[in-house]
Amino acid sequence: MAYSDKVLDHYSNPRNVGSLDKSSSEVGTGLVGAPECGDVMKLQIKVNPQTNVIEDAKFKTFGCGSAIASSSLATEWVKGKTVDEALQIKNTEIVKELSLPPVKIHCSVLAEDAIRAAIHDWKKKQEVAQPAAVAAQ
């Protein structure tokens, strides 16, 4: 199996490994993939409620080197973006950046899914939080 230098770099020095408090209202968690498929990604974002900017991102991935690299790269890319900007990230950009071969494209798809799932989770929390805030007034 051939790996690009960038995949090797992310595999050896993964960025933003770890976990955020998934119960926090500012944190969105995406868990995608399945163990029997050989890939599971957990990607978490911490969003500033005033600006909607993703201030922190963490990941943990069970999967091949390309899956680890795709999720590591995804955390780098979402950091500093607003949630709407982060939703624009396409798997094809990950493929290009990491020079993923065709058999590894599913890794980039999974990383895109993980970003979307994390944002979706965060948005759901905001919808729940909103009426509560109104009621408190």
Binding site: M1, P14, S19, G33, E36, V40, K42, F62, C64
Partner: protein
């Protein structure tokens, strides 16, 4: 094609404890050649280049002598007679010749063949082809330990069964099938028993009479011989087995396999067998000792590591284990100065994890997490220690990275999670 793609670096270097890297521990895939084998072969490239079928000059006689010495050495190692050894290009051809040859020769008698789901592709795909030609094939399941259930086998046999093909030692999990019992069941019913014994010959005692084998595949490159040469044992009496040729031509090898003999390769196979006859007993103990040391050093330091297949009925050099919560290919990437194999889908073109492990009932998740270590003649204890350290270090690092390990440690039952597959 991108320009910065490269293969995993495997430059030669030396580890702190003096181990030369990369370490080769994939001896089920192939073995390095024994220098004594090469030495034996060398004269047959230049000085003794003759065609073993040339009957009327000394060049031919010299080549023929080399071939016949090899035949004797092979026969001796497996308890056969020289006339029962047919030279081929290797295990795949031997398996094809055995199965197709028996199927065609005995088609008047019946059209049913029995094999097992954990067989090598050379057997499975040959059987699949025969199904297209009207043969009926039963693919026996295996038990959790990888062994065929003899009752299943008995039930599968009927009056149309002409051939049972069950391997001796599995190439992935090293599990040894009860060949003697299988052979007995076949013998009682007049069914021919073929065994793909390429991983067993030269590693454990093989005796075609004691184990009731009628046809058996052998290859040189798994026993420190050259690639591209193998043999097929075909029983001559009690019962006499006949096979149809699949390669037609000059009628070499008593009509069963035409084609000019690969004399240097055959001489190499013979020498490899001669060395095995001498050294196998001692070597098996030594290799099993190193294999056990590797197992203990890994399993003593990591939790949730599982051995795939029977431990008791296993080749001395095989260790096939799954590291829960770590994916096999990423593990191989982390131990890139060690040559081993993984049952993970990501290492194959098919994106399906090992069919052998799946047949054992190993979940896909653990099949993706499996590594096959194949120890051999030239491995050392220092290499074993180095490999164990590297594996423990890498698995620990990847588990820190694994959401599954984190969830399991939090007490989440991973089987109960509804996974959002892509």
């Amino acid at each position: 094609m991108s320009t910065d793609v490269k293969t995993i670096p495997q430059e030669e270097h030396v580890a702190p404890n003096g181990v030369k890297l990369p370490v080769y521990m994939d001896n089920h895939a192939t073995t390095p050649m024994d220098p004594r084998v090469l030495e034996e072969m060398l004269p047959y490239f230049m000085e003794k280049f003759g065609n073993a079928a040339s009957r009327n000059h000394s060049f031919g006689w010299a080549a023929e002598e080399g071939v016949e010495t090899a035949r004797e050495r092979i026969a001796k190692l497996v308890g056969a007679t020289t006339k029962e050894i047919i030279f081929t290009s290797g295990a795949t051809e031997s398996d094809n010749l055995a199965i197709k040859g028996v199927a065609e020769m005995y088609k008047e008698k019946g059209n049913h063949i029995i094999t097992a789901v954990t067989e090598h592709k050379a057997v499975l795909d040959t059987c699949k082809r025969l199904e297209k030609y009207g043969y009926r094939v039963t693919y026996l399941p295996v038990q959790k330990d990888g062994l065929v259930d003899l009752d299943d086998l008995k039930r599968a046999m009927d009056d149309k069964t002409i051939l049972v093909s069950i391997m001796w030692a599995n190439n992935e999990i090293g599990v040894l099938q009860p060949v003697a019992e299988i052979g007995k069941l076949c013998r009682e019913r007049g069914i021919i028993f073929h065994s793909d014994a390429v991983q067993a010959v030269g590693k454990i005692p093989v005796d075609v009479n004691k184990q009731n084998i009628d046809v058996m595949s052998i290859t040189a490159h798994k026993i420190y011989g050259p690639k591209g040469v193998g043999a097929l044992y075909v029983r001559r009496k009690n019962p006499r087995v006949q096979i149809s040729a699949i390669i037609d031509g000059g009628g070499h090898e008593r009509g069963m396999r035409s084609g000019t003999l690969n004399v240097p390769g055959i001489v190499g196979l013979g020498k490899a067998c001669a060395i095995a006859s001498e050294e196998m007993a001692k070597e098996a103990c030594h290799i099993a000792g190193m294999r056990n040391r590797l197992r203990d050093k890994i399993m003593g330091r990591l939790d949730e590591v599982y051995i795939n297949g029977s431990w008791e009925h296993r080749l001395p050099g095989n260790l096939n284990i799954s590291f829960a919560y770590v994916e096999g290919e990423s593990l191989l990437m982390g131990i890139n100065d060690i040559a081993v194999s993984s049952g993970s889908a990501c290492t194959s073109a098919t994106l399906e994890p090992s069919y052998v492990l799946k047949a054992l009932g190993t979940g896909d998740d653990l099949a993706h997490s499996s590594i096959r270590f194949g120890l051999g003649r030239f491995n050392t204890e220092a290499e074993v220690d180095y490999v164990a350290d590297r594996v423990v270090e890498t698995v620990s690092r990847l588990r820190e990275l694994s959401p599954l390990y984190e969830m399991a440690k939090e007490g989440v039952d991973l089987k109960s999670v509804k996974w959002a597959a892509e």
